[in-house]
């Protein structure tokens, strides 16, 4: 296809897509609360007891700590009555969020028509947000309780983790991982990157240590053990043909496949034939793996379309 015809077809495709999209939107909006998120408010009030601790109360007085949280009402449960008596209210932030979510989803889908700025934009956001998000979790879930909490218990207790047990006092041993982290971050420096080799070496050593055990125990010894089965299977009714055949097949296949992975023997004669049988069984294995992978990929798409058609456009009951 020459470039200008491609351009034309692209323009055509975009046009068609936008028209279909518009029709769906209008239809959906005319029939349902498209992309609206309704919430119910929940009051939380806490009153102080004589011992200084707080307890939740239903009749907040002055001086109590109060706040309101909002819970999403799924489209399934939302009734006109709830809207009329004001128990359910429209949440603008969440509604906007939902529309954004839908639009970002479409941005990425647009890559199918051809690479375009919208896709690149969405992609750039994926990288940034997910990286930032992972870091936030790491800091709040691990760094604070497992490192700061051990080094400066009283501080952390009075700040972020009131429930924490400070009896143990600060455990100075945890200086070591703290220092290692600092050394690791030296890798960001233009020079002095070699300092980060210490923590990296620690990483690699530990990994090597437990991997070695884990793999020998679970993937080597235990797998050989699992492979040891009788090739003559008898049940209540005496000898059983099919189980025996299967056991035989399983054994031959395992051994043949292992022979294929021998590199000290030339694949000639019997060895060659066995290896050939082995590769066939490997291919069946890969075929199964292929099928399962495809199944998984499709499920992912189904979930996203359910989001678009359900949560956003309300063509189907939203989750």
């Amino acid at each position: 296809m020459s470039t200008d015809t491609t351009k034309q077809s692209n323009a055509l495709i975009w046009g068609v897509i936008f028209i279909i999209g518009a029709i769906m939107l209008i239809w959906s909006m005319s029939t349902s609360r498209t992309g609206q998120v309704w919430v119910t408010a929940q009051q939380h009030a806490f009153t102080q007891l004589s011992d200084g601790s707080y307890t939740s109360t239903d009749a907040p007085a002055s001086g109590d700590i109060e706040w309101t949280t909002y819970k999403k009402v799924s489209d399934r449960d939302l009734t006109q009555e709830m809207i009329d008596n004001g128990s359910a209210t429209l949440s603008w932030s969440r509604t906007i969020g939902l529309w954004l979510a839908a639009i970002f989803t479409l941005f990425i889908l647009s890559f199918l028509v051809g690479d375009n700025p919208a896709y690149k934009f969405a992609e750039a956001m994926v990288v940034g947000t997910s990286a930032g998000y992972v870091m936030v979790i790491g800091l709040w879930d691990v760094f604070v309780p497992n490192l700061l909490g051990k080094l400066f218990p009283t501080l952390v207790q009075s700040w972020a983790l009131p429930g924490m047990d400070v009896a143990a006092g600060s455990q100075l041993l945890y200086i070591v991982p703290a220092i290692l982290i600092v050394m690791l971050l030296f890798q960001l420096m233009p020079s002095g990157g070699w300092i980060s080799r210490w923590p990296i070496a620690f990483f690699i050593g530990i990994t090597a240590g437990y991997r070695m055990i884990g793999y020998v125990e679970a993937d080597l010894v235990a797998q050989i053990k699992a492979g040891i089965i009788p090739l003559w299977i008898t049940g209540q009714g005496g000898f059983e043909l099919w189980p025996t055949v299967n056991a035989l097949l399983l054994t031959i296949a395992t051994l043949a496949a292992m022979v294929y992975f021998f590199f000290s023997i030339e694949h000639k004669g019997l060895v060659g034939k066995t290896a050939r049988v082995g590769i066939w069984f490997l291919m069946i294995t890969f075929g199964a793996s292929f099928g399962y992978t495809v199944m998984g990929r499709i499920a992912l798409l189904a979930a996203r379309l359910e989001f678009l058609f359900g949560d956003w456009l309300h063509f189907i009951p939203s989750s």
Binding site: I137, V142, P145, L161, E217, A218, A226, G296
Partner: protein, 283 residues
């Protein structure tokens, strides 16, 4: 005919896949499920435990794999809740924590009489992957000094007497990769003989089979197995069968059927083109 197919704009194939998945979703076709061996094994592993057993639920997946794994995870939660098992939630993936929250929402909305701290508890995400598993097989508090609400384990009824996860009666692992099922098998199930079941993505499932039955009590591979598991639960517990939210995986089998058929059709046509054109000495 051949020519057109040979240089067919691939966007037509994209479109066909889109429709193959979209139409069954919109028409909401649901097919009956035959509970297969694996799904039954997993179901039994949870069903046969005496009510109120300790079950460790490790959610090692993220939103990217929700489509495959969330229905499974929710089914595990419902099954354990209806059996009254004590559920200990944790996550080895940073984005696994919010997945756990979804299960906890399910408990709170569908099993309101279950009490946090007595029937279920949530631990925060911890970094380190397999090293976390190794750690908690020896010393739970070393890794989790507190639950996700910041309460020390000694002040929580259901964790008070738990030294490490060897005190668990079952490990349920929902996994989208590494760290995941393989690591649980290597560092918990095999060395300590802890009964473990796994719900994993289609990509991993075939690699888990050699571990069955000794190292793994059962594997749910991708959405199909989840649908079968849902069916098994529905059979045993009508209360869950009536819950439309508990039928997600089953609903998704509609798109699966059409899309799988499309895939096979595409492979066949593709190869037909391949052979014909090769005969004509083009390829």
């Amino acid at each position: 005919m051949l020519k057109t197919l040979q240089n067919l704009d691939r966007r037509w194939i994209f479109l066909s896949m889109l429709l193959a998945v979209a139409i069954p979703i919109l028409t909401r076709t649901v097919f009956p499920e035959v509970v297969s061996k694996q799904a039954k094994m997993v179901f039994d592993a949870i069903e046969d435990l005496p009510d109120g057993s300790n079950v460790l639920m490790s959610y090692d997946f993220d939103p990217a794999s929700q489509g495959e794994l969330l229905p499974m995870a929710q089914a595990f939660t419902r099954h354990c809740s209806v059996k009254g098992h004590k559920q200990y939630y944790m996550a080895l993936w940073p984005l696994g924590s919010p997945m756990v929250d979804l299960s906890i929402d399910t408990i709170q909305s569908e099993y309101p009489d279950m009490i946090y701290g007595e029937d279920y508890v949530k631990f925060d995400y911890k970094a380190g992957g397999e090293a976390v598993i190794r750690m908690i097989t020896q010393d739970l508090r070393g890794m989790f000094p507190m639950d996700s609400k910041g309460v020390p384990l000694d002040n929580i009824p259901m964790t008070k007497n738990i030294k490490n996860i060897q005190d668990m009666d079952l490990i349920v692992n929902v996994s989208a990769g590494d760290p995941g099922t393989k690591q649980w098998v290597q560092f918990a199930a095999t060395p300590f003989g802890l009964t473990t079941v796994s719900g994993c993505t289609g990509v991993q499932a075939p690699q888990m089979y050699p571990y069955i039955p000794e190292q793994l009590a059962g594997v749910l591979g991708a959405i199909k197995a989840a649908a079968e598991y849902e069916a098994a639960i529905d059979e045993a517990y009508p209360s869950i069968a009536e819950n439309p939210r508990a039928q997600e995986a089953k609903r998704r089998m509609g798109p699966q059927l059409v899309a799988h058929s499309l895939m096979i059709g595409l492979i066949v046509i593709g190869n037909w083109i391949f052979f014909v054109s090769r005969k004509r000495g083009q390829a």
